[in-house]
């Protein structure tokens, strides 16, 4: 299957469009008119005019003579005139929202054209793959760059989240849990099924492994316990250190990075010291965070209290809260041998509101930069601190950066940078069920006195352990083994339900604790030497060392899904990771006769990642009697000395890849460029298959034409570039051993590896893209359109079968094609008001091209199950098609009811309910400047796709959702009651059959087996994602040394959202688990203030 077979869109319309739009006229560069030279003794008089990007005068721009205090602002016509004693003055011109410029005064009237900071600068040099610099106009593929100003207006703790809505074709899904979490980034649609779909992150030319700690990949694990994903390395970068982010969206752009870049690249360029005066800048902001959306929980019906005054099950299927007694009794149980009093209430209360606090996030960052022509330095320190929505949750990050650049002997440049980041996270919760305070809070029956349990979550109590075998001396002196329960005393959870799966949420918050700490140090040394006439050599070394520590204590009497932790549990883990990267490049850049330009690079890359981990998990945090005679009576012994043998485990990991690469670009008169690149990759994972090839070759090639230089365009049309490129890159299979088994020393047996590896080779991504970059109306109107088509072949997957064997093979192929467009316009109303607006649009069409065949030539049946939903990969359909088990129906189409009035579900996944992935993305950015005010806002959204809310299912099952109360209210009001007085409802099939409200929702929301169509929601949503209103006090501390104050807001409101949850946040960043919600920590609505100053 190749690109030609993707039928729906082709590239021809773009060529036609380009030809049609390329008519006769050609705009002439304005001949620079005036020249004026004035000498007055030693003084030089400098005159000029400052223009904006539309060649209109720019009043109020600051003009200074470098190295002096001389300076002024331009007048209403944008003109300036100043005299200076400097003989060869260099002028520094700046204006808010534009890149500052330095211009050497050469004795003529200066015409300085300013370039907007974010504008598409066609002359700009951009950093491309491997850190190679290229003129932007020579690129043959799509890139999109955003600069610090754009993502620093409303700062996010994790820089990835700042990209959403600002770049076309990107989807960023943060994991639930707030600050300190990872975000999933997908460029141009999901690709790999088991492999990675995330782009490569590159910092200053060096790739970074952006693995997500504790990533959940199994949906079943999500529903049983609390679930929290950890951080990714990207979240440990200080956003303020970043100068710009360049997104190479397709594999074409990234072919030089080989397999690691099949999903695109996010290139981050950090700030460097600049020669000149030392500058100190400070940025600080504070935001207040409140929950954006919480579920609708009923406040009418409580848990049942029986005639003897005993509290019933933990649900909302009992009587009205108003009729509830204020106390009840709890029966003794095996492990809680005493009866207890329970505190109830007979009024409703918004416990959810009481539970969350207003989160506070602060970011402070100081940077000092300066240097001479030979040495430049940049130093920064930043702190991020977040108090989460959940009491006791906090996140703290300190980052320190130091960069130094040396230019020696005019030939040698040395760069050194070192960064240190440290994070500490306490009690961060993503979502999930047992152990997640949010789960326990939302599912607490509505007549529990949560105020009481909040203030009295703990008391001293006595309980019994599980039976434990121990040796007891009998009458004749021998020992016999018998089972007994130990009586245990200590801090005991105080809650209405001392029962498996039940916990007092406040006990979890305050008594139990988890903390993790990560220290990361990374740095780069780079040297480059000009050898001879355009030939240079460069070497780069990068290291990245990361130390992660995690500790969590669960106190005795906390409940697990099945039972109680009698002694408490203790978990301590340490991970170390060291990553090293080396590359050598030979570069050649030369222009011949002003006509032909050549840029060529040859290099070698090596990359290793070594890890070690050491963890202790103590299921019973107690002191064990070595002779096994005494029962264990110590509880909450949170120390690695506790527990029994075999509680500590350790491991090592290693991975590497290395490559040779070469790339060359040929340009003609800066009008036509062609380029080609080659890379040969080797991967560690393939060394276990000695009979398979160890090296894999990848290619990329492209061309572009600057139409505006070749043909005459009408005067309103400033610029046109057409680009085409194609590439083939790989994506290595997951790096692990494929034929290892566990050694069980206790039994002497070996575990069985239930997998069959049929084949193993890298997945191959074949990409094609073409695009047009157009500027009109003196650059006011810009349009950048890209069409891309990508086919992933040899998609590596495992499919299970009847024999209980997972067969791994390179079996399928998936095609993605789509359009990305950015349309911008710069309005100008009068001299003072400017409005820059841009729309980013992305459309991705996905098709599963083939799924491979089994022994009989039948199509493979590839699927993944997520929360009662089967995501099937069927040939001709799309990635993410969801199927569910239907309700059982009678022959006449009505819903089946059993004799006792229960609905039932079918066993097979036959009902199609839509596709989980959004096809369209839209982002609308706006910046309005008026005098010293600047207003910016970003509205973005997605169209299509689905989100699954299991919270709603659980709440239904337990009779806690508002709709279960509404149904009961309706039944009581309309006397829809059965013989036992139970409220009934009509089945939604129009048959008039009645079912008890309780039975209906118990089946619909059944945990782990819910009727999914009720809980799958349309993910289409639009929101005001960012808002900032800034005022700048100019020149407060001297030239260019301003203070900018702004009001900022993020996630302020939904313009449209149909789901009861935030569709853009996921419990897991795992493949196929996007759009999955289960008692997530809600996403936040934030607003606050930002200060930025430069001294």
């Amino acid at each position: 299957m190749n690109n030609h077979q993707i039928k729906k869109l082709t590239l021809w319309p773009f060529f036609l469009l380009a030809l049609l739009l390329a008519p006769v006229g050609r705009c002439h560069a304005n001949a620079s008119p005036v020249e004026l030279l004035q000498d007055d003794e030693q003084k030089t008089v400098v005159k000029g005019v400052v223009l904006d990007e539309f060649n209109e005068p720019l009043p109020g721009a600051t003009v200074r003579v470098k190295g002096t205090n001389e300076g002024l602002a331009t007048n209403l016509k944008g003109e300036f005139e100043l005299s200076t004693s400097v003989s060869k003055p260099v002028l520094q011109i700046s204006y808010m929202g534009y890149d500052p410029q330095e211009v050497a005064y050469g004795g003529r009237l200066l015409r300085v054209k300013m370039v907007p900071a974010e504008a598409h600068d066609i002359q700009e040099v951009v950093v491309t793959a491997m850190g190679i610099l290229r003129k932007e106009k020579s690129l043959t593929y799509a890139t999109q760059q955003i600069k610090a100003d754009e993502f620093m207006k409303v700062q996010e703790t994790n820089i990835a989240n700042s990209l959403e809505g600002k770049i076309s074709g990107i989807t960023v899904t943060p994991s639930a849990g707030g600050a300190g979490g990872a975000s999933k980034i997908v460029l141009r649609g999901a690709k790999s099924i088991v492999g990675d779909s995330s782009p490569l992150i590159v910092i200053d030319g060096v790739p970074m492994t952006n693995n997500i700690r504790n990533q959940t990949t199994n949906s079943q694990n999500l529903t049983e316990y609390v679930s929290t994903e950890g951080a990714d390395p990207l979240s440990m970068i200080n956003p303020d250190d970043i100068e710009s982010i360049n997104v190479l969206k397709g594999a074409n752009a990234a072919a030089l990075y080989g397999s690691r870049a099949a999903n695109g690249v996010i290139m981050i360029t950090t700030k460097q010291g600049k020669s000149g005066k030392m500058a100190v800048s400070y940025t600080g902001n504070i935001t207040f965070d409140t929950p954006l959306l919480t579920p609708k929980i009923q406040n009418t019906y409580g848990a049942n209290v029986d005639a003897q005054g005993y509290l019933g099950s933990a649900n909302g299927w009992g009587g009205r809260i108003a009729d509830s007694p204020t106390t009840a009794l709890a029966r003794a149980t095996t492990k809680m041998p005493y009866e207890r009093d329970i505190r109830l209430r007979n009024y409703g209360n918004d416990d959810v509101k009481d539970f969350y606090r207003t989160g506070i996030t602060t970011n402070n960052s100081v940077a000092v930069s300066g240097g001479t022509e030979k040495v430049q330095s940049y130093v920064s320190y930043a702190n991020s601190h977040a108090l989460g929505l959940i009491e006791t949750n906090f996140y703290n990050r300190n980052t320190f950066s130091f960069r130094q650049t040396y230019r020696l002997w005019e030939r040698l440049t040395l760069n050194a940078s070192i960064n240190y980041a440290q994070t500490k996270t306490k009690n961060r919760i993503g979502g999930g069920t047992v152990g997640n305070p949010i789960y326990h809070l939302y599912t607490a029956p509505r007549n529990l006195d949560m105020g009481y349990y909040r203030d009295n979550y703990s008391l001293t109590g006595t309980w019994l352990s599980d039976e434990q075998g121990h040796y007891v001396q009998n009458d004749n002196g021998g020992y016999i083994r018998q089972n007994d329960r130990a009586e245990l005393t200590g801090p005991m959870m105080n809650y209405a339900f001392m029962d498996a799966r039940q916990n007092n949420p406040y006990w979890l918050l305050h008594q139990n604790r988890s903390e993790n700490r990560e220290d990361r140090i990374f740095g780069t040394f780079q040297g480059s030497l000009d050898i001879w006439d355009g030939l240079s050599v460069q070497a780069r070394f990068n290291f990245d060392h990361d130390k992660y520590q995690e500790e969590s204590c669960r106190y005795a009497t906390t409940f697990a899904p099945n039972s109680m932790y009698d002694y408490g549990t203790y978990n301590k883990r340490r991970d170390n990771k060291t990553e090293m990267y080396v590359d050598y490049m030979l570069n050649y850049n030369k222009t011949f006769n002003d006509e032909w330009s050549v840029a060529a690079n040859v290099g070698w890359v090596g990359h290793t990642v070594k890890g070690s981990n050491y963890g202790t998990y103590i299921a019973n945090a107690t002191v064990v009697d070595a002779l096994n005679q005494d029962l264990n009576t110590v509880v909450n012994y949170f120390n690695t000395k506790g527990g029994s043998i075999g509680v500590t485990s350790e491991g090592e990991s290693s991975n590497w890849d290395r490559a040779w690469l070469a790339t060359a670009q040929l340009g003609w008169k800066e009008r036509i460029y062609v380029d080609a690149s080659w890379r040969r990759d080797e991967y560690r994972v393939f060394t276990q298959f000695p009979n398979k090839p160890q090296g894999y070759n990848y290619f990329g090639y492209g061309a572009n034409v600057l139409l505006s230089e070749l043909v005459k365009l009408p005067s309103w049309w400033t610029y046109a570039k057409l680009r085409v490129s194609a590439s083939k890159v790989g994506n290595a299979i997951p790096s692990r051993l494929y034929n290892n088994v566990g050694n069980v020393y206790r039994t002497g047996a070996l575990s069985v590896n239930n997998s069959l590896l049929v084949n193993a080779k890298p997945e191959e991504t074949h990409s094609f893209e073409t695009g047009l970059e157009l500027l009109f109306l003196d650059n006011r109107l810009s349009l950048d359109v890209t069409y891309y088509a990508t086919t992933i072949k040899d998609l590596y997957m495992g499919i299970g079968n009847t024999a209980g064997i997972v067969v791994y093979n390179n079996m399928a192929s998936i095609g993605n094609q789509g359009i990305e467009a950015t349309l911008g316009y710069n309005f100008r109303f009068g001299p003072n008001i400017r409005w820059r607006t841009a729309v980013n649009f992305g459309y991705n069409y996905n098709e599963i091209l083939s799924v491979g065949e089994d022994d009989l030539g039948r199509k493979n049946r590839v699927y993944t199950d997520v929360a009662g939903v089967r995501v099937r990969y069927l040939e001709g359909d799309s990635y993410g098609d969801m199927y569910v088990r239907d309700l059982r129906h009678n022959e006449d189409g009505t819903i089946y009811l059993s004799a006792n009035g229960n609905v039932k579900k079918e066993g097979l996944y036959t009902k199609y309910i839509g596709n989980m992935i959004s096809k369209y993305q839209l982002g609308w950015t706006n910046t309005i400047n008026w005098k010293n005010f600047q207003l910016s806002f970003l509205i973005n959204g997605r169209i299509g796709g689905k989100v699954i809310s299991l919270t709603e299912a659980f709440l239904d099952e337990m009779g806690l959702s508002q709709r279960t109360a509404d149904a009961r209210d309706y039944a009581y009001a309309n006397n829809l009651l059965n013989a036992d007085g139970e409220p009934m409802m009509y089945l939604p099939d129009g048959s008039g059959q009645l079912i008890s409200v309780h039975n209906y929702y118990q089946v619909m929301g059944a945990r782990g087996s819910q009727y999914s169509p009720l809980y799958v929601y349309d993910a289409t949503n639009f929101r005001l994602r960012e808002l900032s209103l800034a005022y700048t006090f100019k020149d407060v501390f001297g030239e260019n040394k301003d203070i900018s104050l702004s009001f900022i807001g993020r996630n302020l409101f939904f313009i449209y959202n149909d789901a009861p949850v935030d569709p853009d946040v996921s419990l897991s960043t795992g493949n196929g688990l996007g759009g999955f919600e289960l008692f997530n920590t809600p996403s936040t609505r934030s607003f606050g203030f930002n200060v930025k100053m430069t001294f």
Binding site: N315, W409, Q482, N562, N743, L750, N801, S1009
Partner: protein, 604 residues
């Protein structure tokens, strides 16, 4: 450039190259830990059921085979633990055991009722309404057994140790028979031949049974031939057996040879024969008489089981019933035991406990105080929510005594079962080598589930068993649900225990199967099979029987568990060959298996 510059260029270049030295491009296996091993990647598909036991084997050949089979033998060893709830090569544990037994067969046999419907992975709304998430149940354990043993059987080197091959083929067949009786069909042939990829061809019970019997015939011949082997061979094989096979107690009794294994094989053949009695009576008789003639389990030292007491693990049911609260005594089983005044319900230290806490009938206000009576939960009731007695009163129904259960072996073949099989054979007029009464009474005497070697465990039983054997008429018993969820139900047990040669055949059969049912506890596979085959013991009707797949109604019992696989490839296999293997019947709970004949009476 001057020399200094050349030198510095060289120095920089040299140091840059030096960076590469600190990179470690290691091999994929270099991080293998001591807890891991690498296995062979070749998938053998050989001749798993051909036993060339006459082949001459040299000592070097045997040593070399042992070397090559090291991995497969150790994996197969883990397979025997998986037969009763083990996984990943470890001893039986509660998670796998619960899936294998507690969520399905234990309730189908009506030993237990699950007192709460809510689990974190899925639901059990009533006994017959297991959500798809739990549906694979017993099959998940069977696949572990199969995937552990089959590669060994297909390995070319196993033919150098035919006795070992025979033994593992027997163990695989044992599990195959069990799972065939659960679902009625599965791709037995493909599994046996180590087929790895779809599609799979389903085979029905009849095919599986007949194949197993033919296997047993060659297995017993092969094992008998062992006696003719040279001493060096016997020494090595005996050592191999002792270190690999834990289900046979010969090593604990310091007994050598293959006698116990031959008895185990013949006992399985006898079991299969009796299962087949309605489908193919003549063949059943032939198989049964052959089996008995070849020697079956005659003594408790010949029983097959996993002895947690010896190996170092506790019975998984303790965790499932007591700690997790995931099972309670079924009213059906409770009523039976109480009607027969069974030793499990009596004595100083009764095996079944009385109700744990007070039980209140919310409609009448009637209260049953704690520790009043042994009371089970009616099978099929809508269970409550929650796993503790504090909020879910159904947890207060009877449990067993965990101290006694703790060391109970997990039986594969119990003397009692063989005796009851021979008693049934005898009343059918088959030559079983003894009288029905003798087998029946010995079967009861050794029916207790406790560890044989721990006297204190079965002391009570031994003291009470003589009285029990003499019970002529059942004790009056009416099941009265303390919570009032179901109406009162008088016991359906109308027989006594005492053997009476004057009883008609049906009564004799009812007595035998009833006692066999009690003896089988907690191994529900066999109990459920015999319940379906004979209709005995008589048990209370299952409530809400129509809430399974809708094909059963009140008064029916579940005849099979629907096919376990819902993965798309398997569904296609089921449509293509699975339904045909069921005898061209639908994949329903009501579909009867090959040996489950509604149209054939117990005695023609």
């Amino acid at each position: 450039m001057r020399r200094k510059q050349y030198l510095s260029l060289f120095a920089i270049g040299f140091s840059a190259m030096g960076l590469t030295a600190c990179m470690d491009f290691d091999n994929a296996y270099d991080t293998l830990t001591i807890d891991e091993e690498v296995t062979e990647t070749t998938v053998y598909q050989g001749h798993p059921d051909s036993l060339h036991y006459n082949v001459e084997i040299t000592e070097e050949g045997l040593d070399s085979a042992l070397l090559h089979l090291n991995t497969n033998l150790r994996q197969a060893k883990g397979g025997q633990y998986a037969m009763r709830g083990g996984k990943n090569g470890d001893y039986p544990g509660e998670h796998a055991y619960q899936r294998q037994y507690s969520l399905g067969p234990d309730n189908y046999a009506q030993y237990t009722t699950v007192p709460h419907y809510d689990f974190m992975y899925g639901t059990l709304m009533t006994s017959y309404d297991v959500s798809v998430e739990f549906n694979p149940g017993p099959n998940s354990s069977f696949l572990i057994v199969k995937n552990a043993i089959v590669p060994l059987l297909n390995h070319p080197d196993i033919d150098s140790i035919p006795e070992m091959k025979a033994i593992y083929l027997l163990l695989l067949d044992y599990s195959s028979q069990e799972i065939a009786d659960v679902h009625g069909a599965f791709p037995y042939d493909d599994f046996l031949h180590n087929k790895q990829t779809s599609p799979f061809t389903y085979k029905g019970v009849e095919f599986i049974y007949k194949t197993i019997v033919s296997h047993i015939d060659s297995i017993t011949r092969c094992l008998a031939h062992y006696e003719t082997r040279p001493d060096w061979y016997k020494t090595k094989v005996q050592k191999l057996m002792n270190s690999n096979l834990d289900v046979c107690q010969d090593k604990y009794n310091n007994r050598k040879g293959m006698d116990s294994w031959i008895r185990f094989a013949n006992s399985l053949k006898l079991r299969i024969a009796m299962h087949s009695v309605k489908a193919e009576p003549a063949l059943a008789r032939q198989w049964a008489e052959e089996a008995v003639a070849g020697g079956v389990v005659e003594d408790i030292s010949q029983e097959f089981a996993l002895w947690g007491y010896q190996l170092g693990f506790g019975h998984p049911l303790n965790m499932i019933w007591i700690s997790w609260g995931d099972a309670r005594l079924s009213a059906s089983f409770g009523s039976l035991l109480l009607s027969l005044d069974h030793p499990y319900t009596k004595g100083d230290f009764p095996f079944f406990h009385k109700n744990g806490g007070a039980l209140t009938n919310t409609k009448t206000g009637e209260v049953l105080p704690p520790d009043s009576e042994i009371i089970g939960l009616r099978e099929g009731i809508h269970p409550g929510m929650g796993q503790s007695a504090a909020t879910n009163p159904m947890l207060n129904y009877s449990v067993f005594e965990p101290d006694l259960m703790a060391q109970a072996p997990l039986y594969l073949m119990k003397l009692s079962e063989v005796d009851f099989l021979r008693a049934e054979g005898a009343i059918r007029g088959w030559n079983m080598g003894g009288t029905a009464q003798a087998f029946y009474e010995r079967g009861i005497r050794y029916a207790y589930l406790f560890e044989r070697s721990e006297d204190w465990q079965h002391e009570d039983y031994d003291l009470l068993v003589d009285d029990y054997l003499n019970l002529e008429t059942p004790v009056e018993y009416v099941y009265h649900d303390p919570l009032g969820n179901v109406p009162d139900e008088p016991s359906v047990t109308k027989i006594g225990v005492k053997w009476n040669d004057a009883d008609d055949l049906e009564v004799k059969l009812e007595k035998i199967i009833t006692q066999k049912y009690i003896a089988s506890f907690p191994n529900s596979f066999e109990a459920w099979t015999e319940l379906r085959r004979t209709g005995y013991p008589k048990l209370f009707p299952v409530m809400n029987a129509d809430e399974g797949d809708g094909t059963l109604k009140y008064g029916d019992i579940i005849r099979r568990a629907p096919f376990p696989d819902t993965d798309d490839a398997s569904v296609e296999d089921i449509i293509n060959t699975g339904l045909e293997a069921l005898g061209n019947k639908e994949d329903y709970q009501s579909t009867r298996l090959w040996w489950d004949r509604e149209d054939v009476p117990n005695f023609p």
